[in-house]
C-alpha cells in the first residue's frame, strides 16, 4: 500500500506576458521560495526535486533543468525532468507525488515553469521535419477542427464558448496572480473579438505567459503534525494514446475517458459531479470546458455545454470550474497543468483567497496535452481518503 501523501506548500509567481524583471532561475526560485515559506521549510528539508516544462525550444535551452535545478536547491540531490507535452505540469505533480507515495522520499519539491518570452512558441511548435506532416498552425489551428467536431456532435449553442470565456475572465479578476485581468470584459466584447480559428475568437484563447508554480509534498506522518490545513492526495492518474490513427476519436479521445474512470475508481468516487466540490480543468480554448466536463465523465457525453450554459460551472454554481481564471487567463504552458493541480489543492486547503469556493472539501486538478492525447489528473481532499 502506498504512503499517503499531502501537498503542504504552494507557491506561484505572478503571470505575465514577459517577465523581463527576472531570469529563468529567478522565476523558478520565486515560486519555489513561496512554496517553501508556505510549507514552513528550508532548502535542506527537501530530499528531491522534480522539474517540469513543455518543449525545450520554448526557451531555446536543451534540458534546462540541468542549469536551473541549482536555483531551486537541487544541488547534490536527485532531480527528475518531466516532459509530457501540455499535460506536463500535471505529470510533474504526479511524478513528484509518486516519489513520496513510493516511500523513496519523505518530502519533495516540484516546480513547473515556462518562460515563453525567451523564445516563440508558435515557431517552436511549427518546425517542419523531413517526411513529416508540417503543422504550421500552432495549437489554436490544431484544436479548432476538434471544437467544430464537438459542436456538430453535441448541438451545443454557438455562444457556449463565449460564456466560458466570460466566466473565466471574470474569475481572473479575483486572482491577483492572473496574467489577463480585463476589468471591462463583457459577453459582447468577447463575441466581437476577432475570429482567429473558427469558432475560436481572440478572447476565447489563452495568452502566452511567463510563470512558474511550485509544490511541496510530504508523507502522512509529517503532514499530520502540521497546524495549517494540507491537501491530501486521494488519487492520481495518467493516460496517453497516439496522435493519429484511423478511427481515432480526437474530439472525445478514449484516453480521457479511461483516465477519468481509473482516477475515480482509485479515489472511490462514483458520482463525480456530486462528490467533487470544484475543478480546475485545462481549458486553453474556451470550448474545452464543456468538452472535458464530458471527457472527465462529470456529465453525460453531449451534455457538457448544458452545465456551462446553465451556470453550473460558475463560482456560485453547483460545480465551479476554473475559479482561478484558468488557462484562459494565465498560460505558462509547462506550468499550466501544475497550476491546475495547485489551485485544486488551494481550494481544499481553504487558501484560495478571493476565488475560494466555500466549503470545498474535494477538488479535481486536470491537464491535457499533445493532440488531445496526454491526460494527467489528480483529486485532492481536505480530509484523508
Amino acid at each position: 500500500m502506498a504512503e499517503l501523501t499531502a501537498v503542504v506548500g504552494i507557491g506561484q509567481t505572478r503571470y505575465e506576458a514577459k517577465r523581463l524583471d527576472t531570469s529563468m532561475p529567478g522565476l523558478l526560485r520565486e515560486a519555489a521560495i513561496k512554496a517553501l515559506e508556505d510549507a514552513d521549510c528550508g532548502w535542506a528539508d527537501i530530499e528531491a526535486v522534480v522539474i517540469g516544462k513543455a518543449p525545450d525550444m520554448f526557451e531555446g535551452v536543451m534540458m534546462p533543468e540541468l542549469f536551473l535545478s541549482d536555483a531551486v536547491g537541487g544541488a547534490y540531490k536527485p532531480m527528475l525532468r518531466v516532459h509530457t507535452a501540455g499535460s506536463v505540469g500535471g505529470s510533474t505533480g504526479v511524478v513528484a507525488a509518486s516519489l513520496v507515495q513510493s516511500g523513496v522520499h519523505e518530502r519533495v519539491l516540484c516546480v513547473a515553469f515556462e518562460k515563453q518570452s525567451e523564445s516563440n512558441a508558435i515557431w517552436a511548435l511549427s518546425v517542419a521535419l523531413p517526411f513529416s506532416l508540417a503543422n504550421v498552425a500552432g495549437a489554436g489551428g490544431y484544436f479548432a477542427p476538434l471544437v467544430r467536431g464537438y459542436i456538430r456532435r453535441s448541438g451545443a449553442p454557438e455562444d457556449t464558448g463565449i460564456r466560458v470565456a466570460l466566466k473565466d475572465r471574470q474569475n481572473a479578476l479575483l486572482n491577483p496572480l492572473a496574467h489577463l485581468r480585463l476589468p471591462d470584459i463583457s459577453f459582447d466584447k468577447i463575441a466581437n473579438s476577432p475570429m482567429l480559428w473558427d469558432p475560436i475568437r481572440y478572447l476565447e484563447t489563452c495568452p502566452s505567459s511567463d510563470g512558474a508554480c511550485a509544490l511541496v509534498m510530504e508523507k502522512q506522518s509529517l503532514a499530520e503534525k502540521r497546524s495549517r490545513p494540507v491537501a491530501w492526495i486521494h488519487a492520481t492518474e495518467m493516460r496517453s494514446e497516439p496522435t493519429i490513427f484511423s478511427g481515432r476519436d480526437q474530439v472525445m479521445p478514449r484516453a480521457t475517458l479511461d483516465n477519468a474512470a481509473s482516477l475515480y475508481k482509485k479515489a472511490g468516487i462514483t458520482k463525480p459531479r456530486e462528490e467533487l466540490d470544484c475543478a480546475e480543468i485545462y481549458v486553453p480554448f474556451s470550448w474545452f470546458e464543456p468538452m472535458w466536463l464530458e471527457g472527465m465523465r462529470i456529465t453525460e457525453l453531449g451534455e457538457g455545454w448544458k452545465m456551462t450554459c446553465e451556470g453550473a460551472t460558475a463560482r456560485d454554481g453547483d460545480f465551479p470550474v476554473n475559479m482561478s481564471g484558468g488557462v484562459l487567463s494565465s498560460n505558462p504552458i509547462g506550468a499550466s497543468g501544475l497550476i491546475r493541480f495547485a489551485e485544486a489543492a488551494r481550494q481544499v486547503r481553504g487558501s484560495a483567497g478571493k476565488h475560494q469556493v466555500d466549503g470545498a472539501r474535494r477538488a479535481l486538478g486536470h491537464a491535457y496535452g499533445g493532440g488531445s492525447q496526454y491526460f494527467s489528473t489528480w483529486i485532492v481532499g481536505s480530509q484523508k481518503p
Binding site: 536543451m62 534540458m63 527528475l80 525532468r81 507535452a85 509518486s98 518546425v127 496517453s240
Partner: protein, 351 residues
C-alpha cells in the same frame, strides 16, 4: 521496498548514422524484439516511461511519436522524461514501488547524427552567461581532462588504455559501434582534437534505441528464470557551473553509489556511460572499482553512445550477464550534463 527486476532488454545496433530510419522506425523492431523475448503484451503494462530529447530531433514533442512504436492503444498509463532512458527506468521503478504497477516498459532513443552534437550540447549551458560563448561538449571535457592530468588523476596512457579495453570488449557485442584491437602507443601517436583529448578519448556520435522490461516480485518469474533484481538505484545532480564543482572527482557518483548500496569490492562487473576516457577513470575511482570488477564487458559508452538510450542500455547489458549466470552482482551507470553533472547508479543481483 518491493523487489523489482530487469526481465527484458533489447537494443538497436548502435550506428554512426541511421540514414534510412526515423526514431519510430528504429524503435519498432526494438520493442517487437522485447515482446518476443519476454512474451509481454500491452495489457500487462501497468506503466510505460521513455527518455529522449527534443533537441536531438530538432523538433518539439519529438517523443510523442514513440507512442506509435509502443502502440499505445488502448491508451496506456505513460510518462516521459527529457533525460536518458535510465532515468525513465528510475521513474518506472518508483511507480512500481507505489503499488500502482507491477510490470513496466521503459525505452530511450536518440538520433544524434542529425545535428552537430558537441555544439547542440552547448545549448545545455546557462543561456545568459555561458552558452553565448558556445563552449562545445568536447572542449568542456578537455578542460576537465587537462585538470585531471595536471592533478594526478590520470595520464594520457591510462586514458588510451580505457579506449583499448572497451573496444576490445565490444568485439563480443553485436550492437557495438566501435570495436576491435587497438594499440595504446599507436593511439597516443594520434593528433589532439581538443587538447589533451584525442579522437579515441571521445565516445563516438551514435544513433540508437534501447528498451527494458521491469517486473515486480512474483511477476518477474513469469518472464525470466533468473531475473536481475534491482537492489539499489539512486541518482544525484551537481550544480552545472564548472567553477563551483570539484572536477577531479565525481561526488554525485559517490553519493549515488552510496545510496544504491554499491560496494566496489563486491561487484562482478560495471557498465559505465562515460562519454570520455578520463571520465571513465573518474567513475572507476568514485565507485571504488578494483581488479575484481570487469568494467564495460559490452564496451560501454566509448564503444557506442546513443544519447538518451546509452544509460538504459548499460542497465540492460548488466542485467543480461546476470540472467546468463555470468555475474551475480553488477553495477550500471548513466550520466547527463557537462562533465558528469548528473549520475545514476543501479545495482543488480541474481539472487
Amino acid at each position: 521496498m518491493r523487489d523489482v527486476a530487469v526481465v527484458g532488454f533489447t537494443q538497436s545496433p548502435v550506428l554512426r548514422r541511421e540514414a534510412e530510419r526515423n526514431e519510430v522506425e528504429i524503435l519498432i523492431p526494438v520493442l517487437e524484439a522485447l515482446r518476443a523475448q519476454t512474451g509481454v503484451t500491452n495489457d500487462e503494462l501497468g506503466f510505460v516511461c521513455s527518455g529522449s530529447s527534443d533537441y536531438l530531433a530538432g523538433a518539439s514533442f519529438a517523443f510523442v511519436a514513440g507512442l506509435d512504436a509502443v502502440g499505445a492503444w488502448p491508451p496506456l498509463c505513460e510518462s516521459h522524461v527529457e533525460m536518458d532512458g535510465a532515468f525513465a527506468l528510475y521513474e518506472a521503478w518508483v511507480k512500481i514501488q507505489t503499488g500502482q504497477a507491477d510490470v513496466a516498459l521503459v525505452y530511450g532513443f536518440g538520433k544524434a547524427s542529425m545535428g552537430d552534437v558537441p555544439m547542440t550540447m552547448a545549448l545545455q549551458l546557462d543561456p545568459y552567461l555561458c552558452m553565448p560563448l558556445w563552449p562545445d561538449s568536447i572542449s568542456l571535457a578537455a578542460l576537465q581532462a587537462r585538470l585531471c592530468q595536471e592533478g594526478g588523476v590520470c595520464d594520457a596512457r591510462a586514458m588510451a588504455e580505457r579506449a583499448v579495453r572497451d573496444r576490445a570488449a565490444a568485439k563480443t557485442n553485436p550492437c557495438a559501434q566501435l570495436k576491435g584491437d587497438f594499440d595504446v602507443d599507436a593511439l597516443l601517436a594520434e593528433p589532439f582534437i581538443s587538447s589533451p583529448l584525442r579522437r579515441h578519448d571521445c565516445a563516438p556520435i551514435s544513433d540508437g534505441a534501447a528498451a527494458v522490461l521491469l517486473a515486480a516480485g512474483e511477476c518477474a518469474a513469469k518472464f525470466r528464470e533468473r531475473p536481475a533484481w534491482i537492489r539499489g538505484i539512486a541518482h544525484i545532480l551537481e550544480p552545472q557551473d564548472l567553477g563551483v564543482r570539484n572536477l577531479l572527482a565525481s561526488r554525485s557518483t559517490e553519493m549515488a553509489a552510496e545510496r544504491a548500496g554499491a560496494r566496489g569490492d563486491r561487484l562482478d562487473l560495471a557498465e559505465l556511460s562515460a562519454p570520455f576516457t578520463h571520465q571513465e577513470i573518474l567513475l572507476e575511482q568514485a565507485l571504488g572499482l578494483g581488479e575484481a570488477t570487469v568494467v564495460n564487458p559490452s564496451g560501454g559508452a566509448l564503444a557506442g553512445n546513443p544519447i538518451m538510450a546509452v544509460g538504459l542500455a548499460r542497465i540492460g547489458e548488466a542485467a543480461q550477464r546476470i540472467w546468463s549466470g555470468d555475474a551475480d552482482r553488477a553495477l550500471a551507470h548513466a550520466t547527463s550534463g557537462p562533465c558528469l553533472q548528473q549520475n545514476l547508479v543501479c545495482v543488480l543481483e541474481g539472487a
